[in-house]
Structure formats: C-alpha cells, structure tokens
Symmetry: C2
Subunit: 249 residues, 2 copies
C-alpha cells in the first residue's frame, strides 16, 4: 500500500522497511514479478518489481481499478480489550467496514481507553493491514466515545443515519430472519465481554436498534464481529433480492 | 470446564493451575461467588465457590442444563498456518461447530502439518478454550488429511453427509441468497491463503460443493470462518422460516 505522495509521475515508487520485507519475505517476490498495489484512498492495480534489494524494493505501478464498494454495515462497538481490538480493527477493515464507533460501556474497563492502540497512527496502521488483506484502499472512519449516554443521546443519530439498526443482545431478541430491512445499509451494535447492561440495551432499543441473537452461544468479539457482519450483509441482500424483481402483484 | 472424573459424588471439585487462576484473576471470583461450570461432553450449570486459595479453588457444581444444540455447519478447511489455526480452532468451537476436517491443499505449506498444535492434546486444549467461551461442553470431532485428492475422492462423502455443500471460492460463484438449501445442515469448505487451485475447486464442485462468494474482498481465514458460518446459519434458517408456515398454495 502506497501513500498518496509516494508514486512518482512516472508511476514508480521505492519501498523500504516493513513493506520491502513483506514483498521479499512474505510474497517471496523479486525483480520482474508482479504484485498487487494500491494508493491509500485511491486506485489499485498491479505493480512490477523493477529491482529488489534487502531493504529497498522499487516498483512500477499501473493502478487501473477503483477499490471495491464499501460494506453496507457500519459498526458501533463497545471498546474491546486491546489484544482483541487489534484483531477487530484489522478484520473490520478487511471486510470493507467504513464507519466504526468505539464506545465506552459499563462493562468496558476504563484502562482500555489508555491503550496506545487508540492513537490515530496506531489505528491507521491496523486499518492498513486490514485493507492490504482485503485488497481495498479506503480507510475506515473511526471515532472514540468514552461515555455511553451522551454519545447515544446526542450523537448516535448523526453518526448512524441507517434506518436498519441491529443490536447483538440475547434478551428479547428476534431471529434476524424474522426482521425485514427497510434499506440497503445497516448499523450493527456489538457489546462488551459480558454484554450490554439492561440500561444500555434499552437506550439503544429506544434509538431503533432491534435486538438480534447471534445464536445460543457467547462469541468473543473478534468472532462476533465477522459473524454478525456476514449475517447482516446476507440479510440486507436477501431481502432486496426477494423484493427486486418488481413483478406486479 | 471439568473433566468427567473430576466431580465427586457430592458434586464438588478441586481446581488448580490455569483453571484456578482463571477463576481468581479473570473472573475475579472468591468464596461464595457463583460461576458457570460444565463437564466435558456432559451437562452444564452453575458452581458455588466453597473456598479459594491462590492455587486451589474448591467448587460445588449444580449441573442442571444440557449444552446448546450443535451449529448446523460442518467445516472443511485447508490447513491454515499455526498462528491462524489456533484462532480458528477456538472460534469454531465457540460457535458450536462439531465436525472439522483440516485438509492439505496445493497452497498449504507442508511444514504446517508438523505444527505441535496438531497434536491431539493441543487440539483439545484449543477446543476447550472455545467451548468455555461459547458455554458449551461438546468437543468437536476433528480429522487431519494431508493429501487433498484421496480425501476428496474416497472419504469426503462419508465425512460430510450434508446435501448442502458450500465452497468459498470467487470464480463462478453464486451469491448465497440465490441458492436454496435442501436441508437444515450444511458443509462449508474454506480454502487456504491464496485460495483453492482451479483443480481443487473443480474437484469440490464435482462433489456437489456450490461456489459462493464472501464478498469482493479477500478475508483472512480467521475472519472468513465466522463470517461464512454466520451466513450459512442464517441461510439455512431463513429458508426454513420461509418454507415453514405450510399454507396451501
């Protein structure tokens, strides 16, 4: 993944450090090989390796494709502990999630908000790893809100304009297939280890989040996020597929 | 999680080592507190902590519930690299997957089969961590097959009796919502980093695996597994929900 300024007018770029090692050691590519390339926030395509030395790889990129469309799901996540957060950030970016709010909750330990992983450059690094995995170039937007109540009362509606709002919460949950989406995009809220408190779940339900169950088991957040995003995407698509052949009734 | 022989006739058990530390340090429970408990392969319920010392916790368990029903999805996975395998084993167990085949493939490095993680006791340990997370007691059955062709030709049909067979593979894929399940259970095949070879994908399609896409992005196996299991479960349920109110046509 290249930064916007790195590509010369002739389409070449020099890679050092992690990216050079990735090309040489993980991709095991050398001069003459072709690799995937993309510019952060821009186009993607292929690059030919012009030269490869241990800490400098020179490439000529031909970026002739737009990145894939965003995933139709935005995430509202109770801030997970740092070890899990790292995985969740990468996974969310790799799945094409483009909007992510990390929220405090009664069961989120205060210390998690002091994690160095939450520094903007650290978040960006995890997202870039996820984008490289998913072959995408568009960074997710992320916001951190330490206090549940003011976020939900004052900001939630602006941050999540989606009419379809889902809340992974076992109490009072409907099976997802019993709900019909109103649109093509959904907001999905996933709680902390131990779950949302009854107050939090009620506050989100008041804001139109429908409680759904992710099954009879308790998933860790790093499994719950891809599980629920996968289901939400299929749910949105299935419904529009059923509705789309507009035959007269 | 208790081993079958650990519970006394009176329902008490002594925990040491990892489990005692888990109770004291992760759950932060002490004498008089109640915790979740279960017997491997058996019932589950609550346990009261009778006494708690740094390396010995004594509990009295009342196991009055059956474990949750198995997930309706069995997995055929190209063997991932060890670091990812660990996560996938835990996630699969936490989701209630009860049958798992780890298979060689052209793009699976031979060295992965030498991983100490594949020793029976190491696999069991990862599964137990997943079961504890998911609050389940039934260990998955797992098989290792190093060679793709003989497994697919001679053993696959016996191991995966499911008529609904899905193959995560972009080439020639249908969207999942375009397929209708024949039954209530599915087998799901997920390839290695870099994907199945055309030969492998064709061999699996010959065995009735329908190619589906997990979206326009390339997911790492530890995200692809929960993403695809979540979708397959919703797919199986949605279809039976649509079919179930047996109104005359």
């Amino acid at each position: 993944m290249l930064e916007p300024g790195e590509l010369s007018a002739g389409g070449t770029a020099r890679l050092a450090g992690r990216r050079a090692r990735h090309v040489l050691e993980v991709l095991r590519a050398g001069a003459g090989d072709r690799i995937q390339a993309g510019v952060v926030g821009g186009r993607m395509g292929e690059a030919e390796i012009l030269s490869a030395a241990p800490d400098e790889v020179v490439i000529a990129a031909r970026l002739d494709r737009e990145p894939p469309p965003p995933a139709p799901v935005a995430l509202l996540l109770a801030l997970p502990r740092p070890k899990i957060l790292r995985k969740v950030l990468q996974a969310a970016a790799s799945m094409g999630v483009k909007r992510l709010v990390l929220l405090g909750s009664y069961r989120v330990e205060k210390s998690y908000f002091a994690s160095p992983l939450l520094a903007p450059e650290a978040l960006r690094e995890q997202f870039l790893l996820g984008l490289e995995q998913g072959r995408d170039t568009i960074l997710p937007e992320v916001e951190l809100h330490r206090f549940f109540k003011p976020f939900v009362e004052d900001l939630l509606d602006a941050r999540f304009p989606e009419r379809d709002r889902l809340l992974a919460h076992p109490a009072g949950a409907a099976p997802l297939e019993a709900l019909a989406p109103a649109g093509a995009r959904a907001a999905l809220a996933i709680g902390p280890e131990g779950g949302w408190t009854p107050y939090e779940a009620a506050a989100l339900r008041d804001r139109g989040f429908a409680a759904i169950t992710l099954g009879p088991r308790v998933l860790r957040v790093d499994a719950a996020v891809p599980y629920a995003v996968g289901q939400a995407e299929l749910w949105l698509r299935s419904s529009s597929a059923r509705a789309s052949p507009r035959t007269p009734r």
